[in-house]
Each structure stands twice: as structure tokens, then as C-alpha cells.
Symmetry: C2
Subunit: 332 residues, 2 copies
């Protein structure tokens, strides 16, 4: 019985190899910049979902590979642009693209991956996916990418707002993170079927898994280990991100502590001591328990959606279920 | 008999109306930023090519409209990102997106239009274009957008090179500008047919027209009128762009004059006098005549390609031919 870790690793190799063979061209400097983060690692969770859903529904890994590469390329394009926007300097343990190549080149490198994502998708036709379903896949990926842009804008706008509700937050993280997980599950489905009921259940699975993933991200941004994460901890605080923990803490703290927390949030040059004090305030509010309970709720919804789908490959179904636990327990 | 000016105007209204009805959502600030340049005007040449080619080959304007909107959205996304990269402050007579909303928002606004371009394309299926051809259209647009990113990177890299050949230049402008004109003609074709010979001739028409368009752009950047252009003249010199006129002048001027020209090229804070002197050196080298002869050569190639296509609608064929003269004679 193959373990989730083994399955993740073997899909990651396949997808990375496929991407590297398709994303090549001139000028070389542009392609180097575009491939920098892809070469630096990444778990390839989204393409794993695409490939495993497709296998689970009886399609071949080969047929699903162009869609898997498509979502991973979109994910990496958003990382490059997000790092510019958030002025982040490290990701996956290496300097970000704009730190190494400058912002103009990083903008174009992101755009290149965006275009390449759609360019590789077409190969699904040669691999036997009917054009009708490939056209639906293009549409689903385009829609998700548009929603991600909206989510990224909301995330930025929330930095300047003191009162962001949990509902606002959940809408934002659906857009910023959930939509691309949703598209990953849907694209895996479209590699195998156009049964609308199956596609809808897959969308539910992906969307809820993605929201749980983002809540875990928020938690790790506060209590995670810098080395395992490959990026500085507390950067969410420094950037003034309205994570679910911050939102909860702001709603629970007394006026004085609330003001104290607000004075550190978004302070780019905050000292280590200030950040640690802010983190302490958040933790004392009970935000961690709250965030974990919301995360588990979304993980449960993903599990329910998954249980409604009849998979022909039981191993794939099991891996998709194990993935939920993996996502909410991860430390990276 | 409808004039080209009338036909351009009526297609522009249709396309703009279609785009405004499809590009709407939240957060509002993001959509405002994304639509800013679209609302500021533009001739909508690329969608005009899509729609007129489609009509010429017997498809309806309605069927071609999603593809027309797709290329125009891609064009506008590249404008937003290019303006950030080139630090341009005016376009179409209004401040650029990043001047008004800041760079982070401008990056996301561009990404949003990019995604929306692919999202609207799918509507062609509902309008009767077979999925197989819609999938080809997605592929052609993705390919073109990837090539545009390569062209934009080359354009930037050339700023730091003293010796750029005319061949290097022509390759760069095919990528930066020709590829999207090429895709426009191809997408118009795919709305009506999948005859490969017709698609190939359309690609030739669009590609060569686009190169001629870019050479005219280079010429107007040196001798155009600021008010008619809606952006500052000489910005190409200030940014150190290797236009065809600059390349020719550098190859013809004596050592002293060449050094003088090079000392102004790329000098962001060059005075009006320095820029005028640089322009004078370029003009004295005979660069204008040279650029015009190369431009006319590409216009001729576009004309030849067009003559190979059997159009069912003669008026559309005439308009596409008149468009060539319009592009090389334009003053905006």
C-alpha cells in the first residue's frame, strides 16, 4: 500500500519534470527567473489533487498531467507576484524572484508562467481528453485565477481595515486560496468525466480543503518554525495581514491590549520583541483553539464532499482523504 | 459603403460594451483599476481584426465577440504591466494605473484582466463555435501571450545593450507586438473555420501588420505629436529603447556622434534639449527613411498574405486591406 508521502513525492517528480520540459525558451534570463521557485521545491499539492482525482475516476495520469501542470504554473505565478506585493524576501528557503532579478523582470516572469499554464493545458487534447472537457477546464482555471486576483486584492485591502469579520475573512481566503484548490479537484474530474454531480462534489472537496489549508497557513505564520517553513515567521504580523487569529484576538482583547496589538500590526520595522509580544497577545486570546476548530470544520466539509463521490480506484480515494489530515497537521 | 473609420468605431463600441458587461465584480477598487485604461479609450484595433476576419469568413459578429474581447483584455493587461516596468506616467491621455492605484494594485489589476481574457473566451461555445475550435483559440491566445512576455523581456534587456541588430529588433517586435496581432487574425479565423491554410495566411497577415504597427510606433515616438499620442514623446529615448531608428542611427553615425547619442539614451533625467539633440542626430542619420521602408515592406507582406484568402464577405476583406494603410499612416 503506497503511503501518502510516497504518492506525493512521485507525483511531484512527474509534474516537475513535465513542467521543466515544457517551460523553456528565450530570453534565458526570463525563463531562469520564471523557474526559480519551481526549482526551489514545493510539495505540488495542487497537481497531486488533479492527478489523484483523475486516477480515482479512471483517467490516466498522462491525460491529467497537462491540467496538473496548469494549476501548478498558476500557483507559482501567483507566488512571484504576491512576493513583490508583500515585499517578501524569502520563499521555499531561497530569495524571492524580485530580490534576485528585480521587480520588472519578476512581473514578466509571473506573466510568463500564467501564459504557459494555459499553453500546456491544450496538450490534454492530444492525450485523449475530449475538446469539450478541455474547454471546460480552461474556463475553470481562468475563473479560479480571476478569483485568486480578487482574493489577493482583498487581502491587501484588509491590511488597512481594523474591523474585518470572520465572514469577510472566509470569503477572502476562499478566493485567495480555496479557488485554486477547487479548480484542481475540478480539473482532475474533467480529465475523466463531465458528470456535473461529480464535478460539483469535487469542487466542494477542493474548496473546503483549500480554506482549511489557508487557516493552517495562518497558524504556522504565528507558531511555525522558520526553518521548516522556508520563510520568516511573523511576516504576517509585520505586513498587517488580517489572519483568522488576528481577527479573533482583536474581537476578544480589552481596549488596551487591542490598541497594543494594532500598533504592531503592519509595522514593517517592528522589533523581534514587539512581534513576540503581539504573538503572545494573540495566543492569550484563545485564537489558536478558535482557528483550529474552524479549520477542522472545513476539513470535515471536505471529507463529507469526498464521501459522496464514487471512485473506481480505491487507493486514490484513500489518498485524497489522507490528504485532508496531512494538510491540517502539516508543519511546513 | 461603410468607411474604415465608421467600421472601427462601431466595432469599438460593441467590444467595449461587451467587456464592461463581463468585467465586473468585487473588490470594486480592483475592477476600477483594471478598467481604467479600457475606459480611457483606445482604437480596439485587435478586436476589430478578430471581428472583421470572422465576418469576412462568414461567421457572425456575435460568435467572434468573446475572442475579440479576449485579445483586447490581454492587450490591456500588458499595457498595465508595461507601464509599471517602463515607469510610464501617462497613457491614452490619462495617468497610468500604477500612478493612480500604486504598483501592487496595478500588478493585480493586470492579472485580473489576463484571467478575464480567458474567462470570456469560453462564451464562444454558447455562441455556436465548436469546442474543438474554442480549444484551439485558447491555445493560440495563450501562446501569443507567452510570446508577448518574452518580447517584453527582450525589449528590457536590449536597453542595456549597445549593439542590437535589426534582426534582433525584428524578432523582438514580432514577439512584443506582432504575436498578438497574429493571434487576433487567427482567432477571427477560428470563429469561422478550421481550414489550416486559411489560418496560416491569417497568421501571416496579422504578424506582418503587427510588426509594421510597431515600427510606426517607433517613428511616432520620435516625430509624433504628444497631444495626439496621449503620452510624452521621446520617452523611448529616455528609457533607452532600441527602436529601429536608434539601431539604424547607431550603425551609421561616426564615433563622436554615436557616443553623444549613447550618452542620452536611457538617461532618465535627460533635459528637453538633450532629447531634442539626440532626436536630431537620429533623424540626420537617415533613420526615418530607413524605418519607413522596412515598415512598408512588412505592410506589403501583410497585403500579400491577405490576398491569398478567399473571403465570402467582400466588404470585410476591403476593410482588412484598408487597415494596413491606416496602421502605417496613423498619427496616434
Amino acid at each position: 500500500m503506497v503511503s501518502l508521502a510516497e504518492a506525493l513525492k512521485s507525483t511531484a517528480s512527474l509534474v516537475t519534470e513535465y513542467i521543466l520540459s515544457r517551460v523553456a525558451g528565450t530570453p534565458r534570463q526570463l525563463y531562469d527567473a520564471a523557474l526559480h521557485l519551481i526549482k526551489a521545491g514545493g510539495k505540488r499539492l495542487r497537481p497531486f489533487i488533479v492527478v489523484t482525482v483523475a486516477r480515482g475516476l479512471g483517467a490516466s495520469v498522462e491525460a491529467a498531467l497537462p491540467f496538473a501542470a496548469g494549476v501548478e504554473l498558476i500557483h507559482n505565478f501567483t507566488l512571484i507576484h504576491d512576493d513583490i506585493i508583500d515585499r517578501d524576501e524569502f520563499r521555499r528557503g531561497v530569495p524571492t524572484v524580485h530580490k534576485l532579478w528585480g521587480e520588472p523582470f519578476a512581473i514578466i516572469a509571473g506573466d510568463l508562467l500564467f501564459a504557459k499554464a494555459f499553453e500546456v493545458m491544450g496538450e490534454a487534447i492530444e492525450r485523449g481528453v475530449p475538446p469539450q472537457r478541455v474547454a471546460r477546464a480552461y474556463d475553470a482555471l481562468a475563473r479560479a485565477t480571476r478569483i485568486v486576483a480578487e482574493g489577493q486584492a482583498l487581502d491587501m485591502l484588509f491590511e488597512d481595515l481594523e474591523n474585518v469579520s470572520v465572514d469577510d475573512y472566509l470569503d477572502m481566503v476562499y478566493r485567495k486560496t480555496g479557488a485554486l484548490f477547487e479548480a484542481s479537484a475540478v480539473l482532475g474530474g474533467l480529465a475523466a468525466t463531465d458528470d456535473d454531480e461529480v464535478i460539483r462534489a469535487l469542487a466542494e472537496y477542493g474548496k473546503n480543503l483549500g480554506i482549511a489549508f489557508q487557516i493552517r497557513d495562518d497558524i504556522l505564520g504565528l507558531v511555525g518554525d522558520e526553518k521548516t517553513l522556508g520563510k520568516p515567521v511573523y511576516s504576517d504580523l509585520r505586513e498587517g495581514k488580517k489572519t483568522i487569529l488576528v481577527i479573533y484576538a482583536l474581537s476578544r482583547l480589552g481596549e488596551g491590549q487591542r490598541e497594543k496589538l494594532l500598533s504592531t500590526l503592519g509595522k514593517r520595522n517592528a522589533s523581534k520583541e514587539e512581534l513576540e509580544e503581539a504573538a503572545k497577545l494573540i495566543l492569550e486570546s484563545g485564537a489558536l483553539d478558535y482557528a483550529e476548530s474552524v479549520m477542522k470544520d472545513y476539513a470535515g466539509r471536505a471529507r463529507t464532499a469526498l464521501s459522496k463521490i464514487e471512485f473506481v480506484d480505491r487507493e486514490a480515494a484513500r489518498l485524497l482523504e489522507e490528504l485532508i489530515d496531512f494538510v491540517v497537521q502539516r508543519n511546513w
